[in-house]
């Protein structure tokens, strides 16, 4: 059994004690311990078997109308008080460069008490040997599934976090969360060509939740089959076309194309969502939300009860029946906009400052079955399997798909190789003409990057819309 460098215990009394001894003004103290366990296996060999723990206290102060941030790796009153002093010095030293002073932060009911996400104790009690055994078995199975599979790898990672947050205006909260994830990659080769198949799942919760939809072996079999099948697949044609996006790709669309552009810091910089509250930005079939809870199905990877400013992380309806209703806020941006914070302030580790980040972002389910949606496409593609994705503040997005199927006159054709797709967020959402009824979270593995990583999730139902496809023949 692996041991912790520091025992789990509520640090908020100690933080409160330090805060009480510091001088006036806004002070936010965040004790953050992150424990990770990670394993990776390739061709029967263990490449990674790690257990690490990093902990400390992040200190943010508001001084001279400016935020200052410092941190200490010691959970000791003296060290915390020194860090508060350093944060104040940093704020004062930089105040001259600040044109617009930070307004008073909005008075909201801040979180108090203890919040434990599901699955913490069961996951921590599970021996790492069990995960290693599973990785070796799935990797072996993927490699043995076809003579064309030349290599396979599997990985398991688990992030356990404890946070204690105390602020001078009333937050006093201790949270515990665990997020396990699993991935499998298979490489197949034939005639000098190689293709890769990949499957990954990640949740907030325990192992039962992680493998609720599909077992690890099923994921391994699917990755291997995908790699082999792609060897014989052709390329789609490029151009603007109607597509059916799977829940994983809808997740990428909501996260990359819309979610980032409605983060209030991007809005302030002039993103394409700026000035459009109350206006139509999507088809009336589209309702898009970001939530700290795991809506529709348990286990969404970005689930959190409280954000890193001590604000309760509720649900925010960003687009309601096609109309833009809200941005995503931290306390500062909410103060500037005269609205309530939405619980979107998140920091990756103790020595990172909170930024506006998404949690679980999704399009609400509609009424169509997938069969009905396929039948409704005269010429287009069905796309599945999320790869990477990026979006700019102007709403122009790009994301990768792993599998494509041509649809002609309502009939789905054979597998083709995945391609990247692109478009402008709100233009694409205006073209939505059907929304599926079956909902799935499908982006819980991996990280969102915005200076700092963040665990998020995204998903939705199948969606019919128009995008630009980066195919081979144009």
């Amino acid at each position: 059994m692996l041991g912790s460098m520091q025992r789990a215990s509520d640090p908020t009394d100690l933080l409160q004690d330090a805060l009480n001894e510091s001088a006036g003004g806004f002070v936010e103290l965040r004790w953050h311990k992150k424990t990770t366990r990670g394993l990776s296996v390739e061709k029967g060999r263990v490449d990674t078997a790690t257990a690490s723990e990093h902990s400390g206290v992040g200190v943010r102060v508001l001084e001279s109308g400016t935020f200052g941030f410092a941190s200490t790796d010691r959970l000791e009153k003296g060290a915390i008080l020194r860090a508060i002093g350093e944060a104040r010095t940093a704020a004062r030293a930089s105040a001259r460069a600040r044109k617009e002073r930070v307004p008073d932060l909005p008075r909201v009911a801040l979180a108090r008490g203890r919040f434990d996400a599901p699955g913490v104790d069961a996951t921590l009690a599970r021996p790492i040997e069990a995960a290693l055994e599973m990785l070796l078995e799935v990797e072996r199975g993927a490699r043995a599934s076809s003579s064309r599979v030349t290599s396979a790898s599997t990985g398991y990672a688990e992030i356990y976090e404890e946070k204690g947050i105390v602020t001078s205006d009333g937050a006093k909260v201790w949270t515990r969360t665990v997020r396990p994830e699993f991935r499998v990659i298979a490489v197949a080769a034939s005639g000098g060509e190689m293709q890769r198949g990949a499957e990954a799942v990640g949740v907030t919760g325990g192992w039962e939740c992680l493998f609720e939809g599909r077992s690890a072996n099923e994921l391994g079999e699917k990755a291997a089959k995908q790699a082999v099948d792609l060897l014989d697949a052709g390329y789609p044609e490029g151009g603007r076309t109607r597509v059916l996006l799977s829940p994983a790709l809808v997740g990428l669309l909501t996260h990359e194309a819309v979610g980032h552009t409605v983060e209030a810091d991007f809005v302030a910089s002039g993103s394409c969502a700026a000035g459009r509250l109350g206006t139509r930005v999507a088809s009336d079939l589209v309702t898009l939300c970001d939530s700290g809870a795991s809506e529709y199905h348990a286990g969404a990877g970005g689930t959190m009860a409280v954000d890193d400013e001590g604000v309760l992380a509720g649900r925010t309806t960003v687009i309601e029946n096609g109309f833009l209703r809200s941005y995503l806020h931290d306390r500062e941006s909410a103060a500037r906009s005269g609205v309530a914070p939405t619980g979107n302030a998140r920091a990756w580790e103790y020595d990172d400052e909170p930024l506006i980040r998404m949690r679980n972002t999704y399009i609400a389910p509609g009424t169509s079955t997938l069969e009905e949606m396929i039948a409704g496409v005269s010429d287009g593609y069905l796309l599945d399997g999320a790869s990477n994705g990026q979006a700019d503040a102007n709403g122009e997005f790009m994301f990768g798909t792993r599998e494509a199927y041509r649809i002609v006159n309502g009939k789905k054709g054979p597998l083709m190789r995945g391609v990247n797709i692109s478009g402008s967020a709100f233009d694409v959402l205006q073209t939505v003409d059907a929304v599926g009824r079956d909902f799935r979270w499908d982006l819980g593995s991996g990280h969102c990057g915005k200076g700092q990583p963040a665990k998020v999730d995204a998903g939705g139902p199948w969606l019919s819309c128009e995008v630009v496809l980066g195919g081979r023949k144009s």
Partner: protein, 470 residues
Amino acid sequence: MSGTAVGRVAVKDEATTREHEDRLLSACEALVGLALRAGAHEAEAFATRAEKASASFEKGDLKLAHVDEGSSIGLRVFRDARLGFSATNQFDLESLEQVARNAVALATASPADPANRLPDVQRLEMLAPLVHPGLARLGIEEAVDYGHALVTRAQKHDARISVDGANSSVSRVAQAIHTSRGVRATESDAMVSLSISGMAIQGTDVGGFHYASDAVRDPARIEASLTALVDDFAGTAVGNLGAESARGSYQGLVLLSPDALLDIFVAPVLGAASAIAVQRGRSALGKRLGERIGAPGFSIHDRPHDVDLAGAGSFDREGQPTRDFALLEDGWLRGWLYNGYAAAVENRLSTGHARGGARSVPSLGAHAIHVAAGSGGTREALLATLGKGLLVQRFSGSVDPASGDFSGVAKSSRWVEGGRVVAPVRETLLSGNAYQLLARIVSLGSRAERVDGGARAPWALVDGVNVTAG
């Protein structure tokens, strides 16, 4: 056991660079000793201490001033050729003992691999100190000044500029390694890093996003870096206004910026040149060593002793010496990158390509990539050769390392006719196969430019790329 401090790194003290290195080395030595006592047969401890002052700007205004100092130590052990690793940022004895127990416990659970052994000592040729005395004195006030200069100069460059984010930081990093095979080394580094991102806005036209960054060690170069970043960022962002669809889809020539060349062509070659990828049958280039896979004149080197690049250093993550390495010369594939593990598989020496920090098992990769310049002349000369088609400044997409297939959006791209830029272009997708198109690099610019402070590459004209207009 009590929590007596072992080699604890003092916070915000006035210690010299050498003193910080010595403290890290002491902690590494202590941890290796604890690991051996806990049952490890071999042990390697790697520690870092980072001190950073940074200023972040948002919406053209200061967002946050951040000062920070922290240390991490990681322990890799082998027990009967079984691997275990553990890391922490707590340097008290109790925490280090727990790290040692965890690493040994993981090793006990892992299957054996005969290549699991630490590299032997190799003689190091240390670079001149990487910490410039002038940079060692900089702090939060200077970080704020540099960030403020970036933002205000960009805004003065053109009133339509909207700075989404800017960041400036002064960082100092010390590192130390000690292993049970006798590897023992320390080195420190210090840099000023600058970045700016955003777009230009004119009425309802929100131009394409652009990003520029740099990192320098010599304080005398900060001013030049600021000027170059502002010119690149603001010039490109304003140039992105009024973008239209590409004037036609085609398969043929595109002109790639150094940044796009690195992303589309160099990154997959580096992945495929990993000796581990070759050994495990997932490298698309695995059977092509000694073949000409690239166009004549296309050469890729790793130059970890080029101190103008961020990745420079005297030794790698395993304490092995770094040295100039030819990966591709005149299109010929010359060699694979080895870390200690890959070298042990073939019973040879590492090429010094172990990468990573204190918080993870050493990985494998290059340090400071140089793509050789060619004879294609200036960007304008390459535009003339292109005649008509697409100029790509940034690639936002993916390259599959197994197949080499790439697909993504051409960012900040321009339509070229008659050898001149005639319009900014939006929503244009690129695709093709990187390994196949290596041989279709038609021309390389005559100057290798610094890219984000970490690599050098020229502009490149490549044939056979699929361009899909939106």
